[in-house]
């Protein structure tokens, strides 16, 4: 868990009634519909939602790239509109799209960043060494970045986001397009940050399994935050475990489940399936009360995919188009 502080700390991110509208022809599109959000310092916060949900627009307002239409947002204690510079010095950003200078070496990229953020020479030297070490790129520091693999570039970008020791690190889809091993490696770094530092990590993702690494998650849809809680609480809120059975007599099993457990069961993918609150507690009763030969039992806990489905009415992969540009720099305006 995150480092615990004795003093009451200001939240890392505090958003009130944040709203963003765009003109679209004669009408107005409301991309973000007055959201409230509070992220405590030191947390790893997952921000989920399909493209077009307003997630990228929200992150851009928090990072001072776009001004809100109305409402306020404070990041690291400063107002994102009136105290833009102070906010910028205290946040690190890792974008969905790669933003390294491929012609420069890893170290040159980091040094450029350190200097832009006003670090002194000794500070820059120290921080560059630290972050390179953290992402295990020390031995590649003089190599040109265009020789790096996708995963290495991503790690370098995370390192760069940390060079100026930000209080809040924003990552927009940091693992998109990476293979499973690299995704896991990236999350190892983020988990290390969560466990060993006070930094607040605000991360958007559409991989539901990654949201499990977060202290809290919010799901955004149609410009609104539809639900916000810990991953565990959200999974409990969608309720039920699912039990799937292979039996010698499915018809009879379904009838007995209905009769003796008072639960509706049905056939699904060749198995008798039923939904119950506490799956593990029901399994022994199946063996004693069904009187039907049972060949296998599977109990599935609800996943964040189920949470997403419940709150948005669709699976996240249905709504996430293949590599649609959610990034303002990805396409022309």
């Amino acid at each position: 868990m995150s480092a615990v502080s004795n003093t009451v700390r200001e939240p890392a991110i505090e958003v009130t009634g944040l709203r963003k509208t765009y003109p679209a022809g004669d009408s107005v599109v409301e991309a973000v519909k007055g959201i409230d959000l509070r992220v405590e310092a030191g947390q790893t916060y997952g921000f989920l939602g399909p493209n077009g949900a307003g997630k990228s627009t929200t992150i851009e307002m928090l990072c001072t790239i776009r001004n809100p239409t109305s409402g306020t947002a404070r990041v690291a204690g400063f107002d994102v509109v009136r105290q833009r510079s102070q906010v910028r010095r205290r946040i690190g950003l890792v974008f969905q799209q790669q933003t390294l200078d491929l012609q420069l070496s890893a170290e040159q990229n980091l040094r450029f960043h350190a200097e832009l953020y006003g670090l002194s020479r000794p500070e820059a030297d120290r921080r560059i060494a630290e972050v390179l070490d953290m992402v295990a790129l020390t031995d590649r520091r003089t190599d040109r970045v265009d020789k790096f693999s996708g995963g290495m570039k991503r790690r370098l970008e995370i390192a760069r986001g940390l060079v100026h020791a930000p209080q809040v690190l924003f990552l927009d889809e940091p693992t998109i397009g990476l293979d499973p091993q690299t995704r896991a490696a990236i999350w190892d770094h983020l988990t290390w940050l969560r466990d060993n530092t006070d930094i607040t990590v605000f991360v958007t993702t559409h991989y539901m399994d990654e949201a499990e690494h977060c202290d809290r998650i919010a799901i955004m849809d149609h410009g609104e935050i539809v639900v916000e809680d810990t991953p565990e609480a959200l999974k409990s809120s969608v309720g039920t475990d699912r039990i799937a059975l292979r039996t010698d007599d499915d018809e009879l099993a379904i009838a007995r489940v209905r009769e003796r457990l008072g639960v509706e069961a049905g056939m699904h993918e060749g198995q008798v399936t039923l939904a119950v609150a506490e799956g593990a507690a029901v399994v022994p009763r199946l063996f004693t009360e069904l009187g039907v030969g049972i060949r296998s039992v599977t109990v599935t806990r609800p996943s964040l995919d189920d949470v997403f489905l419940t709150y948005t009415g669709r699976t996240i992969r249905d709504s996430e188009g293949p590599s649609a540009p959610s990034h303002p720099f990805a396409g022309r305006r």
């Binding site: 510079s85 974008f95 790669q98 200078d101 832009l116 020791a165 940050l193 060993n196 720099f329």
Partner: protein, 293 residues
């Protein structure tokens, strides 16, 4: 307090320890310097580009200059190559500087622009850094050509070399600023390249870099006077020719004289005009950049 406090936090957890930088002019100047230095780093990484950029001016001076030299009467012993040299020197920065300017389109396309846009620096610092960096890169590359001045009989006088370098920098900044200004509106490399070529070629030919501007027909004389590059090329040529012992006929044919409504414009005024225009272009680019990005 004892020094044996528990739980020394790792260094990453101490953001407050880093120096706070104020949003003052000093930081903006420093940011401009950082953006500018990146252009130089990139040049060092790309040595092949330096050599290829040198090829075209060499062809102009030594191949075209020698070839045409036999039929061009300079009015004395001064070789056509000597006359051509300062003009070609000036045009050698055209492409490098303009391309350095439109590299902003690459920065945008490859994402690096975003890294600069979210940093705690002003957009003006980004534009000034790009312009100055591109101008320095183009100037440095043209110095390789300047080093060959002796081969066409131009003396290596320190003052002359400084004058020429200064003009080259001014011309480079003008072209880089034009390139950057284009990049604020043009979003793709496929468009930026031909548009910049479309701009460069007429500027090169209408500057009198490759021919004397004395006795041009009216229509061509007017176009030459409207071309800002003329006011870089002609002072450079004056500086060079002033160093040589010319015959009266050579003076008349080769030494450029520019008049505005009958007034003979001094070299200093010519360069000042370019400087003012350049400053205006950079300022305009910064303003457009602030409103569009």
């Amino acid at each position: 307090m004892s020094t044996r406090d528990t739980a020394v936090p790792p260094a990453v957890t101490e953001p407050q320890r880093l120096t706070e930088v104020r949003s003052d002019l000093g930081h903006e100047v420093r940011a401009t310097w950082v953006v500018m230095r990146r252009e130089l780093l990139r040049l060092r990484q790309d040595r092949a580009r330096i050599l290829t950029m040198l090829l075209q001016p060499l062809l102009f001076v030594f191949v075209m200059g020698t070839g045409l030299g036999s039929i061009v009467d300079t009015g004395g012993d001064t070789s056509f190559r000597t006359f051509l040299f300062p003009g070609v020197l000036a045009t050698s920065v055209l492409f490098t500087a303009a391309f350095a300017g439109i590299s902003l389109v690459w920065d945008r396309e490859f994402g690096f622009l975003r890294e600069m846009m979210v940093a705690p620096i002003s957009r003006g610092a980004i534009i000034w850094g790009k312009c100055l960096g591109g101008a320095v890169v183009a100037t440095v590359q043209s110095l390789l050509l300047l080093a060959l001045a002796g081969t066409v009989g131009i003396p290596y006088a320190p003052v002359l070399l400084l004058q020429l370098t200064g003009c080259l920098f001014l011309g480079s900044l003008l072209l880089t600023a034009l390139g950057v200004l284009l990049s604020t509106r043009i979003r793709t490399i496929q468009t930026a390249m031909p548009v910049s070529q479309l701009l460069i070629m007429p500027m090169m030919f209408l500057s009198g870099a490759l021919f004397p501007i004395a006795g041009l027909p009216d229509w061509l004389a007017v176009l030459t006077k409207l071309n800002p590059l003329t006011y870089v090329v002609q002072p450079m040529r004056s500086f060079v020719l002033d160093r040589l012992a010319l015959t009266a006929a050579e003076q008349e044919r080769l030494v450029p004289v520019i008049t505005w409504a009958g007034w003979e414009v001094p070299v200093g005024v010519q360069l000042l005009a370019v400087a003012v225009l350049t400053l205006g272009l950079v300022t305009l680019a910064a303003r457009v950049f602030r409103t569009t990005e």
